[in-house]
Symmetry: D2
Amino acid sequence: MIIVVSPDASPEDLDRIVHRVEETGHQAHISVGTERSIIGVIGPDAPELQDMFETMPHVESVHRVTKPYKLVSREFRAGRSVVDVGLGVSVGGVDLAIMAGPCSIENEDHILDTARAVKARGANILRGGAYKPRTSPYAFRGLGEEGLEYLAAAGRELQMPVITELMSVRDIDAVARYADIIQIGARNMQNFILLDEVGKVRKPVMLKRGLSGLIEEWLLAAEYIMAQGNPNVILCERGIRTFETAYRNTFDINAIPLVKELSHLPIVADPSHGTGKLGLVAPVALGAVAAGADGLMIEVHNNPDHALSDGAQSLTYDRFAGMMRSVAGVAAAVERTVPGVGASAAAR
Amino acid sequence: MIIVVSPDASPEDLDRIVHRVEETGHQAHISVGTERSIIGVIGPDAPELQDMFETMPHVESVHRVTKPYKLVSREFRAGRSVVDVGLGVSVGGVDLAIMAGPCSIENEDHILDTARAVKARGANILRGGAYKPRTSPYAFRGLGEEGLEYLAAAGRELQMPVITELMSVRDIDAVARYADIIQIGARNMQNFILLDEVGKVRKPVMLKRGLSGLIEEWLLAAEYIMAQGNPNVILCERGIRTFETAYRNTFDINAIPLVKELSHLPIVADPSHGTGKLGLVAPVALGAVAAGADGLMIEVHNNPDHALSDGAQSLTYDRFAGMMRSVAGVAAAVERTVPGVGASAAAR
Amino acid sequence: MIIVVSPDASPEDLDRIVHRVEETGHQAHISVGTERSIIGVIGPDAPELQDMFETMPHVESVHRVTKPYKLVSREFRAGRSVVDVGLGVSVGGVDLAIMAGPCSIENEDHILDTARAVKARGANILRGGAYKPRTSPYAFRGLGEEGLEYLAAAGRELQMPVITELMSVRDIDAVARYADIIQIGARNMQNFILLDEVGKVRKPVMLKRGLSGLIEEWLLAAEYIMAQGNPNVILCERGIRTFETAYRNTFDINAIPLVKELSHLPIVADPSHGTGKLGLVAPVALGAVAAGADGLMIEVHNNPDHALSDGAQSLTYDRFAGMMRSVAGVAAAVERTVPGVGASAAAR
Amino acid sequence: MIIVVSPDASPEDLDRIVHRVEETGHQAHISVGTERSIIGVIGPDAPELQDMFETMPHVESVHRVTKPYKLVSREFRAGRSVVDVGLGVSVGGVDLAIMAGPCSIENEDHILDTARAVKARGANILRGGAYKPRTSPYAFRGLGEEGLEYLAAAGRELQMPVITELMSVRDIDAVARYADIIQIGARNMQNFILLDEVGKVRKPVMLKRGLSGLIEEWLLAAEYIMAQGNPNVILCERGIRTFETAYRNTFDINAIPLVKELSHLPIVADPSHGTGKLGLVAPVALGAVAAGADGLMIEVHNNPDHALSDGAQSLTYDRFAGMMRSVAGVAAAVERTVPGVGASAAAR
């Protein structure tokens, strides 16, 4: 950390700041300049310290020099993490992870039918929500454990790992029992108790970025999980909240290469939520793959205008198939593969 | 709800949309215009419906006509709710609620000393955090139940109701036992399970607005609590996340009169988090009171540059006293009172 | 400026950075730490340098230490600037500047009638738009020079200084001839050619903050004007663009005390544009005054639902009168005065 | 337009609103519902009307039904516009437009050398700034007309059309004389006078999106240009301002497919400004092409850490060459071509 001392500080003022630095167990390295003195704080950048120093008289500004996260950083692991999610599928390798399925699990047949359809069109992971975070208390909130059973059964039948959202510590045992990947939703990115708890589970966790989550906060949320001993973390960019209202969220494509620069963790893209608008899902999916995403999460519904949630952004089976053919082509151009889509299709 | 049909729709297309409206149990009222037809959907505006209709072919746009919340609205209760928080203090009446104390409870003496100091300077509710949501897993996360005991003891000693944050359903019994007001923090505004659970408790709940919470989402979060039977909800504006980086959050003063227009619930202001900058706390507190806030929540620490959290925005006892004198003056100008600050002080 | 060198830099890498610093005419002050070395760059923080250094290999981050503006800063002038706008009115002193009038000047009688009405209710500066920035090319764009004549005539008649917006260098002579204060609108905050030109005029300039203008950028825009020799700059906070859609703009109350901390220039508040919603104008106006604003700019129209622009946020004469009585009360509580509103009214 | 009347309106109140609608020259089509009546306003959606109606008593909300722009819309022209920019290059066809060059033109040799380098690596349009919008008045503001001469000479020499920014009506003749494409920068997106004037010129205009420009506002700004008779408008997405601070701007990839859905105009992507960070430029460029962008605008500098502006985001010649090989591959996957990059390179 670097403390910039204001020009009006007397030598005694400077001493007082140095003394406070030393009280915190750090060393102070002083550079006296012509206008301002600068104090280098040697030792770990504890998050509280910046605040403390900023409040001291004659401190003009405090600059952090090191990243506040460790385990998720490239400095901790220089290579790229590949997360094995079971049944021979992994996230972060050359093959793209294609997670597809309905927003909500509606009934047993529905999820099974969808699983068949998406697998046939190139998906390798099945998604479906049993616990649904809903803005209104009066909206459909999912089938709960019954939904988990249907999802797991469909996954078994089609030999696909399944992913579903966990909203509360209360349901962690049930979700961990049925799911191959536990999803933490955008609204829970900073539900720190939940992060601690999924850190204690050994299942892979997919952590979505919050609607207004800074990339640094998102990586710190992943750090919560890793700090409890679970290294199997997948990040998911799903759009942020901005001033634009012509679509639901702004998919942050910059986040994909930036996260790969800062962290070894794999990152997948959710263009369904990242746009919230049917016509934008496929183009943004292609963009995310071109920019380096390790996979996609796509909402697919056989009958979007009858979906119990998120109909406005769900692809039909046909549109999903069309998108997957283009995804395979773009993936090839950036040296990635989509095993479920045949070479002839990829060649278009 | 109003469905605007696109100009290219044939009579059959229109019929198909009308049929879908009727399938959902609503009546369709059709106005055929020169360019576009418009379908009025008669019946409750279920949240799922907008999505569904938007995905249908030949639907150009769907407009909601009614608010998605009920119990929190002025239509449900025309007057203003006043929430009794115990020991003769209430929130939403003529007297302002002044919640003050440290960000974190640090030890028994510290909270007791602070309680005495803030009460003597005009506070009527004691705040203090025992469970702290922290961006980094390596930061101080509060004393937990031990902190709750110290807080409750200080409250008893000074005869002040106490408010503290609940972060997880896991701790609800402990918090409900010790606290007079349960605070739901900004990061949990859409932790729907937690909202359900505090809705089942009879204690007053103060619900902070999320960093990127739309006012409509915030009111729907309050609706979650009321829908479970707890009418004692207090809203708290604490700043939103915007593009500006010169301070920590942007205090949304517009939210105060707007919430009062839309809802009967009381609303208090937290300028400590709403600015995150020492020099801004008092001016924004005055602004909030002038704009109609029913109270203030202020971080006060006897020694801010030694605080275990949020030092950069904590007022010293002296600055708090100075602010309270001005608050009393502004309050009088908008026909509110601050009982803890003497008339001579208010007259400055 | 401080350059943080990455841990992997060799002594030769460090030398190369130091050499580059010296090439730019600055001195380099090196602190070798255990993990990272830090280079203090001694000399003026030229805006280009941060960019340049950030691109160099082995540079981890670059931190600016000094503010990029000079003339507008408190370091340049410790006291507060008071801008004399003519006819005995000034902005930045104890008396609040109350600028009121219609959004657009509609005709000669209309502006004269409005001038009489607002003066009688406490305004001391007359506002009115002759050149209107309109989002759509098909909207009413103002009366142009004819409007300026009507405005100036009304100002003369009522002995009020007048303020109007200048949109283009093309109209600078006309606007400077008729107006007492030249307004630069939010959309032109970074129209740098226009800023240069109003810097060469001797008339007071009111510079509105852009919809997404950082406070630092806004002060630098004011610096453009002052750098050309015009010290008579008034800042105007008029709301920023955020994710919230329940009102038109988010009035940034934090900006008021922060600007007063950073700059000696006066700052007024425009709650009409800062909210865009009738019911919010008066409460936010009171809030701004309580937070320290040096004045208000308010849209007033005798018949808002017939206004040629901005009807949705214009106050009627009666509502303006009611607001002014409350403004006088709040102003008194923060030791400001509103000369045009009688003592009995202020006492309510 | 649709006016929703509040439930408390009497028949007389309804009549009054209908009368006001008719006064504006529109027809009113009334649907009386069980709770609320709805008035369809038949006739053009004049921008002023929404405001007017919203201010009337008993009006609950007003919904616009038609888009406020005409000439730029797909309804006006169903196909896609292809803008011929001279020397056999066009924007919006199968071939991607690759605009590359330095941020600022620094001297005659520099621009010529850069032109040679970027043409050899696949660019077909030369960019370079002679008039630079700079946040600080003390920064380098470009060579002005001298720079235009160098740029035009380099374009002639290499047979490349050239693009450069116009900041002020003052310089329109000079820029129109030397440039093949006139660029309107982000800060001038709503400089309406400037838009009018470039609408009167016959040269192609590239209109960048403002930092906080809504897509609707951006299309209306393009409408300004087309309304003056200039159909040769190219849009350029260059990143928006959001809460994220880990990079300079948030490139809005959603805007690419959405603009193509709403408008017939071509759209190119500027990932240099859209990220402001070297390592992100190439991935985001690939993403933009995959999502359907009609071209790219890229800052290239032979020696970025000596660039007079925007060094931090400028690619070296080598990095540009590497990026272009990948661009050609991704373009092929979405059925676009990059004529300047050989087939062998594209095949990687």
